[in-house]
């Protein structure tokens, strides 16, 4: 990064000048793009390739794409066939979750300049694009102005109110979180965690409603959930439900003593059946104090990690009604059960990784203090293991969010499934590019948001996770 100037000829050693750091645009270009001839050639090739891809995409999205397929079907893409007059319930639960997310962010996170700029930029875009579109409304066809007023503006004005509302909720929550942190950080964190545990069932009930038809919250059949709503409900339920199951499986697999017997194999031991028995007994004793439970956990985890999720969905879809002897279990619930059972195996392996990464001294110290195995697990090892496991857990949650798209294969209409349904309508045939790009952007925003939040939490000091709970 630096280029040192040679010390002046004949100058005393004490007066050697400090290296001069080249600044300015040209220096940056030289350092980052044209360092060597190979670098220069690479840069030129990449400019040509990247530039042509970008211009092709922009040309397509401005001149050829017809984004009305999204504005027309926006409600369906977001909430499926959820009754429109009940839409406020969805809005309320989203607002509640956003508010809590803001509070958590205020307590545990930090406001980075990039995030702040992104918020301000987002708000400005969503306010000004529709305004600009009005002034460009009478520009001739085929120009950029017509594109903005005809294609972009409807989408942006459609999104404006929800986005402003969400950003508002998030910022209000952030303010509350910062304020609560000032008063008592530990207690604020505790209350927020409790609030999360209360809010999730509340949202679920808000969306689902009670079973009476004409009460305060009329019941909405799960087959009317669709689009992004169904994606979120599947991911949310699976994340919340698979977590305890995964921890139990991990503890089951880690159960038993830590000492290991080694099988000292004499030469050609496989010829001697007595040695087989000996090896078998050592294997059995190495399974620890609870060999049956451990084996069951291992079989469950390794089986589900060895088969693809689609086969689990497919089997659950066809076999669960038979196995429970009950045909009334709806497809959404079957998918939720399948996703939960499947992901629990992955969560178990991640938690096991966390448990294994703990220094053994922790458990030994707990034993020395007279804690029972249960107490040692609950208060000493598990909390620390979960803290270690947070980055891979977040990665798995993102995978889970993306995996919900596989229910499209068994015919559920989550975001990807419903976009296929939209494409099947005769007036939107051939609009697959627009729709897929839109769906990809939605998935990207949420997945990237999750990983960004996790990274921010990680980088906001090593104590960030310690202060949870």
């Amino acid at each position: 990064m630096t280029t040192a100037t040679a010390p002046t000829e004949g100058a005393p050693a004490s007066q050697v000048t400090r290296p001069v750091i080249e600044r300015g645009m040209l220096a940056w270009l030289r350092q980052n793009l044209f360092r060597t001839p190979f670098d220069a050639a690479l840069t030129i090739i990449l400019v040509v390739i990247g530039g042509s891809l970008l211009t092709q995409f922009l040309e397509w999205s401005i001149a050829q794409a017809d984004w009305t397929v999204i504005t027309t079907n926006f409600r369906i893409l977001m909430q499926g066939t959820y009754p429109a007059e009940q839409g406020n319930r969805l809005g309320l639960s989203v607002a509640l979750i956003t508010l809590l997310a803001g509070v958590s962010w205020g307590i545990w996170g930090r406001l980075f300049r990039a995030t702040a700029f992104a918020f301000v930029g987002g708000v400005l875009i969503f306010v000004f694009v529709p305004l600009a579109a009005e002034s460009l409304a009478d520009s001739p066809r085929g120009t950029f102005g017509a594109y903005v007023s005809g294609q972009l503006a409807p989408l942006f004005s459609l999104l404006r109110d929800p986005v402003l509302l969400l950003v508002g909720c998030l910022l209000i929550g952030y303010g509350i979180g910062c304020f609560a942190k000032q008063i008592n950080r530990k207690r604020a964190g505790c209350y927020t965690l409790i609030a999360w545990f209360i809010a999730i069932p509340i949202c679920f009930i808000l969306v689902r409603g009670f079973s009476d038809a004409d009460g305060v919250l009329p019941f909405v059949q799960t087959n009317r959930w669709g689009g992004l709503l169904l994606t979120f409900m599947l991911a949310f339920v699976a994340i919340v439900a698979c977590f305890p199951l995964g921890i139990l499986l991990a503890l089951g697999r880690m159960s038993g003593g830590t000492h290991k017997l080694a099988f000292k194999a004499p030469p050609r031991w496989w010829l001697n059946p007595l040695q087989w028995l000996h090896a078998l007994s050592i294997w059995w004793r190495n399974l620890g104090n609870y060999p049956i439970i451990k084996l069951l956990c291992i079989i469950y985890i390794e089986f589900l990690r060895g088969v693809p999720l689609v086969t689990v969905f497919f089997t659950a879809n066809l076999i669960v009604p038979l196995a429970l002897g009950d045909n009334s279990i709806d497809a959404v619930l079957r998918a939720m059960v399948a996703l939960t059972l499947f992901e629990a195996a992955y969560i178990a392996e991640i938690v096991r990784g966390g448990l294994q990464a703990l220094p053994p001294g922790q458990l030994e110290a707990a034993k020395a203090l007279g804690l029972s195995p249960m107490q040692a697990t609950l208060f000493i090892t598990l909390p620390q293991a979960l803290r270690i496991a947070i980055p891979p857990l977040v990665g798995q949650f993102i995978t889970m969010f993306k995996d919900t798209s596989l229910v499209a294969i068994i015919g559920l209409t989550e975001l990807l499934g419903i976009s296929r349904a939209v494409l099947a309508q005769s007036e939107f045939i051939g609009r697959h590019r627009e729709l897929y790009v839109f769906v990809a952007i939605v998935y990207f925003v949420f997945s990237y948001g999750m990983s960004y939040a996790a990274r921010q939490l990680e980088s906001s000091g090593s104590g960030a996770f310690r202060k949870i709970g």
């Binding site: 793009l33 670098d39 060895g306 038979l322 002897g325």
Partner: protein
């Protein structure tokens, strides 16, 4: 003495407090619950199947399937009159084709992008980052739909394809390339090539040993490589072991049995798997390279190694140790994700099973399908474990 042989005063309580008894009891209860639950579910299922008169045995495997598969190594690998077992075999071959090609290509792509991610070139760095973030943060199924519907199917029709050098043809029905047809001299050529490669490797090792012993320059790599490939190339030129079969365009597109025709479905699933898995492998490669201490780079640079030499000889071998366990996970994911080929009409195991499930009972089919994937995963994991054991530092 008499005191010691006396029985303890509260035998029953001591028995209940004995930790060995408690452990056994807890485990037996858990086992009983699990077995009971399993029996209840199996019983319900078999009753439901019996009520619906769906057979659950595997006798259907020998019956004719009634559907045909066009995708495979040979033309029409599975006809309507062939058995279900044959359909499974053909589907397994297709899955293996996609998985093996996907493994190789995604590793190469991941390695390339992972190195680019650490480049000093700003543009290479940024483009690699953009690729990784886009493909990691969107679902594979969506990428497959996009590649198949929005890219491959919008290519020109097979009657007026894009002509590539070869001549090869690219169209919405796939890629048609020249194919090699074996003649009676092919066996001899193959034998000579194998001998050439073997002796080349042996020569290389021998020359390298001489160099390490005496310090003389022996040109081990140059001589070894030229023997390895030279023999095969020379034999090819002299023997002419294959005839080339060029693809032809008929009135309705590609002519059957002319050239090698790679279907658009196959291209879609392989491309999707490679692009998706490549993004994850790139991140693994990047963190692997970053896990090698900077001192290694500096020391190598001070010894006069070039950038490529440092990567190839010093950094990547050390990074490989860190990379293999997460790489194994990605390979397993790729093998399992190949089941999404069903979504783009590629006849792999899950897709064929889905077709079968319309006419035969789903229980035995899914047992076979899950067994196949389980075996595939276990084999992959076993191979990678052996590799992992070989690359770890040997400690005493």
């Amino acid at each position: 003495m008499a005191d010691l042989t006396q029985r303890s005063p509260l035998p029953r309580l001591a028995f209940l407090r004995d930790v060995r008894f408690l452990r056994a009891a807890v485990q037996l209860i858990v086992l009983a619950v699990v077995i009971g639950l399993a029996l209840w579910l199996i019983n319900n299922t078999s009753e439901g199947l019996a009520r619906a008169r769906i057979p659950t045995d595997f006798s259907f495997l020998t019956q004719p399937s009634g559907f045909q598969i066009d995708e495979g190594l040979v033309d029409q690998p599975h006809k309507r009159t062939d058995s279900y077992a044959n359909a499974f075999a053909v589907a397994l071959v297709n899955t293996l084709r996609a998985v093996i090609l996907g493994l190789i290509l995604s590793t190469l792509l991941g390695l390339f992008v992972g190195i680019a991610r650490l480049s000093t070139n700003f543009l290479a760095r940024t483009l690699a980052l953009a690729y990784i973030e886009i493909f990691q943060n969107t679902p594979l199924l969506l990428q497959l739909f996009f590649i198949f519907t929005s890219v491959l199917l919008t290519l020109p029709r097979a009657t007026e394809p894009i002509i590539l050098p070869g001549p090869s043809y690219l169209s919405s029905s796939g890629l048609a390339t020249p194919n090699l047809i074996a003649t009676e001299r092919s066996g001899l050529w193959l034998l000579l090539t194998v001998i050439g490669i073997g002796s080349g490797i042996a020569l290389w090792r021998r020359l390298r040993a001489i160099r390490l012993e005496t310090g003389r320059t022996t040109y081990a790599a140059e001589i070894g490589l030229s023997v390895m490939f030279g023999v095969g190339i020379l034999a090819w030129l002299i023997l002419q072991p294959f005839t080339v079969d060029f693809p032809e365009l008929g009135r309705f597109g590609y002519v059957r049995n002319k050239g090698a025709i790679i279907s658009a479905n196959f291209v879609a699933i392989v491309l999707g798997l490679v692009l998706y898995t490549g993004a994850f492998i790139a991140e693994i490669v990047r963190s692997g390279i970053q896990s090698v201490p900077t001192g290694q780079w500096e020391a190598a640079r001070s010894q006069g190694f070039t950038y490529g030499q440092i990567l190839r000889l010093i950094v990547l071998p050390q990074a490989l140790r860190v990379m293999i366990p997460p790489l194994t996970n990605q390979y397993l994911n790729l093998a399992k994700n190949s089941s999404l080929g069903a979504a783009v009409g590629f006849a792999e195991v899950f897709g064929v099973a889905r077709t079968m499930a319309q006419s035969v009972s789903v229980v035995p089919i899914m047992v076979i399908v899950m067994g196949i994937y389980l075996a595939l995963s276990l084999i992959t994991a076993a191979v990678m474990n052996v590799l992992n054991a070989r690359f770890q530092i040997k400690t005493r």
